[in-house]
Symmetry: C2
Subunit: 142 residues, 2 copies
């Protein structure tokens, strides 16, 4: 099976398959005499695993860990669970930040007439110093 077929079978683009090989996420594929990569069923299986993990938002680094655990028949499920829970926590952290942003934005948009007049509380707030949008107490990082 060459890379095109492997791509269709695993739903991972050929571009990404080569990339994963390059960064060492997957071992280097075998090659035909003319240099074409060839893939076997277990390879497809692994690519599929990767794609499903990406769909759940795992980073390549996390997938490296997950693949290691997947291959380790003596793994402890606690280790897998920990990876998953850390990822969940990370997603929730990002969602919370976005939730705060949307909340602020929605409050501003709700105050904006949205008509042909130039007065706009959104712009007025953006030009103000750091106070209103729930930030005065935050440790001003970034």
């Amino acid at each position: 099976m060459n890379i095109g077929e492997a791509s269709r079978a695993s739903k991972v683009s050929a571009k990404m398959i080569r990339y994963y090989e390059q960064i060492g996420l997957i071992p280097a594929a075998e090659r035909t005499a003319s240099g074409y990569r060839t893939y076997s069923q277990p390879d497809i299986h692994r690519l599929h695993f990767i794609r499903r993990s990406r769909d759940l938002g795992f980073s390549v680094a996390e997938i490296t860990d997950l693949l290691g655990l997947w291959n380790d028949k003596a793994r402890h499920s606690a280790d897998v669970k920990r990876v998953a829970q850390q990822h969940i926590a990370e997603l929730e952290h990002r969602m919370e930040k976005m939730r705060q942003m949307t909340e602020t934005l929605r409050a501003l948009a709700d105050c904006c007439a949205g008509d042909e007049r130039p007065e706009c509380p959104i712009l007025e707030t953006l030009q103000q110093p750091d106070d209103s949008p729930s930030e005065s107490k935050e440790h001003t990082e970034r």
Copy 2:
């Protein structure tokens, strides 16, 4: 005011100020005879506006629009509101995707014993074809 002071005053890093100038988000700063950039109060004001917009998750492209509206005294608040609402919609879209991912992950993690045994529903699901995690009906893009 040189770039260091402008950075402290606007809370935009000097690196970013130069970057914003390079990509045309802000006009090129004036220079001293020796080549140092100098900033005036209105420049600081604009940088501050940018930083606050970034804090709310607006992209540089969106901020380009917002700055244009900010400078346009004949703007229509409807135009500002539209930018904000599109951004809100985008944020909500991303949050919804993340919410689905966390939901799936949490369900899997809840089924995982998390002990020293190797059996793990998380890994088992990741190695399965596309079915369980609410995807069968989606138009398999990406």
